[in-house]
Symmetry: C2
Subunit: 380 residues, 2 copies
């Protein structure tokens, strides 16, 4: 069994441009289902569907890559079924790259139902309470069955706040699991990413980076953030980890975030993001616009014939008024969730496209300044 | 005020072909938003959206015309708002014809909350209990604000079973309301249809037809069926009413029905149908196929890589397996409702397209026989 290190694996990442004034960078990642242009936002398709839209809608938005969820698909419908379909792509009718997370974050989220040991995570199904077990090797095998282009090591996420000892132990375990994950990986052409933990302790994050780089992965994720810490701490940890990671590999900030978080992440050298925010908020009637957030049920929109955002080119804004969207939302019509999701995902994907363009033009600092200047809602 | 009769109004209906062996006929109806090819099935878009799909999906299915609901739109968002959008078409982004029902059936469905008098229907909003009133004149005015291509007279639906006296009184009131509706109509270019009541009493239905024809409408609907009576009675009443109605005007069987009901309705000379069955059943996981009904949550479909119906050309059947649709349905994903609705509406619209073709080829009796021969599920 060959355990490689960074030297053994050619990087899937190619740098195309870099800001001369900050760490923002423009690149592409080579996967089995084509190139992903970075920096990129990955819509979340937890259960083998991005909620409330179909694959063609994501193509129309020009989503480069989507994320699916190992934990949820492990429980239902199970990796054996998806393997019979030769993987998620055919099962869900999605032709572009997919990243699957390892399930570590979901087990963390449901930690009242979970017990972490050296061997792996024992947990109970959130559906029926059935006892389940996922080792680092299992997580790799499941993701190989799912057939994602990019797969993630099983990690142990650290709550916030956590004691130094708690963070140290969990980070060390994540490192040992990462080594086992790498050893377990078959030659499937899938890219395997390691996850940097370390809690809010910079020196632990530094050790985590060193350990992962020693093992050698196809990309590196910054995990354990957006777990309740202040935004400043999120950004400090991101900056610290991103700067330590090998610059010739993709850097992925997991589970982040708001539009401003994405701008700040790119500013600090991050290439990849995922978050349920645009899709979940869409279903709650909260829409992102270039000037801030818009809550569609607000009575001020009752007769409003304008689109959600006059500067937006999405399907929803090209065809529907705020008044109609408000009507659909108040009436709890399924079309409300669909149209709102289209809009929010377009906003996120378009924001990243604009950032890519700004980096190509070495104009990112100006873009970032303009982004904040446009916001009239400081909540954004 | 001019009260016309059938002689005053040129019919919007043009007969294109007729079966030589039964009453089935092929025609077209001229409306402000184009021609409607008949016989036709109209998907139901109660609250200014056909649930779980967008207008482009209906165009892809080639739905000729959709139905919206005066009662629901009267309550929310209200006709004044929709008038500000110059009508439903622009409000909901639907370029083809719309028919609005009058609200009579909804008031009947909610009759614990309603009181019918000579003046009209007093009822309470099903949303907040607010007292509301709709006269026949109001129903016309509301539908003029909604801007549908075809509007319906307010009628009083008769429960099943009902005494002869009860049916007689309600039918007579529907006739007086029809006369008032016709008198109230403005010159908007909208087609106004009268509704034949009469319960399950053929002679009352005959009187109702005579009364409506004397007033003169642009089309005639057979109402008060599919209210709990046996299928044979539904078909007998349909046959009886359809035969009495003027054959140079469109004939619309309201709220019907199953695929077999549609075949039998066309056989008896009906041109137009609407029903929530395909959309509602889709959301409950019941799919229509050429061989019968398919309940997608059935465990037999767990690993089934076939499409819902191998003979179906809909978007859902072209891209997704039964196993994936079952997974989505079990996971309560919104995409399940969308894909199931696409399939069921395609089935209904395609069934009517096939019937139109069969009539054109004077082959309808053979089509009807083949339709039943294909069914392996007698429930169909």
């Amino acid at each position: 069994m060959l355990v490689g290190n960074a030297m053994n694996r050619p990087s899937p990442f190619r740098l195309l441009a870099k800001s001369s004034q900050c760490r923002a960078r423009r690149g592409e990642i080579k996967t089995s289902h084509g190139l992903v242009q970075t920096p990129v936002f990955m819509p979340v398709g937890t259960q083998a569907t991005v909620k409330a839209v179909r694959p063609e809608d994501l193509l129309a938005i020009d989503a480069e890559i989507i994320l699916a969820n190992t934990y949820h698909l492990f429980i239902r419908p199970g990796p054996a079924l998806i393997r019979e379909f030769a993987g998620l792509h055919r099962f869900m009718n999605w032709p572009r790259p997919i990243l699957t997370d390892s399930g570590g974050f979901q087990i963390f989220s449901l930690r009242e139902l979970a017990k972490i040991t050296e061997a792996g995570a024992a947990f109970k199904s959130h559906l029926d309470g059935a006892p389940l077990f996922l080792s680092p090797e299992d997580a790799v095998a499941v993701q190989e069955a799912l057939g994602a282009d990019i797969i993630m090591c099983l990690d142990t996420c650290i709550p916030y706040p956590a004691s130094r000892e708690e963070a140290r132990a969990a980070t060390a375990l994540t490192g040992r699991w990462a080594r086992r994950s790498r050893a377990a990986q078959q030659d499937t052409g899938q890219l395997l990413f390691g996850i940097v933990q370390g809690g809010m302790y910079p020196d632990l994050r530094q050790q985590a980076v060193a350990e992962l780089v020693d093992i050698g992965f196809d990309g590196y994720a910054i995990g354990g953030l957006s777990v309740g810490e202040p935004t400043e701490m999120l950004l400090d940890m991101t900056e610290h980890s991103a700067a330590l990671l090998p610059q010739d590999y993709p850097i992925y900030l997991m589970g982040v975030g708001t539009p401003a978080d994405l701008v700040e992440g790119v500013f600090r050298g991050v290439d990849m993001f995922d978050c349920v925010l645009p899709t979940r908020n869409a279903r709650n009637g909260m829409l992102f616009t270039s000037t801030g957030r818009l809550v569609i049920k607000n009575s001020r929109y009752q007769k409003d014939q304008l689109p959600v955002d006059e500067n937006c080119g999405c399907y929803t804004c090209r065809h529907y008024s705020r008044a109609y969207l408000r009507h659909l939302f108040m009436a709890r019509e399924i079309l409300a969730y669909h149209l709102n999701t289209i809009h929010n995902l377009y906003y996120f994907v378009e924001l990243l496209r604009q950032m890519r363009q700004a980096i190509e033009q070495d104009n990112f600092i100006r873009f970032r300044k303009d982004f904040y200047a446009r916001l009239t809602d400081p909540e954004q």
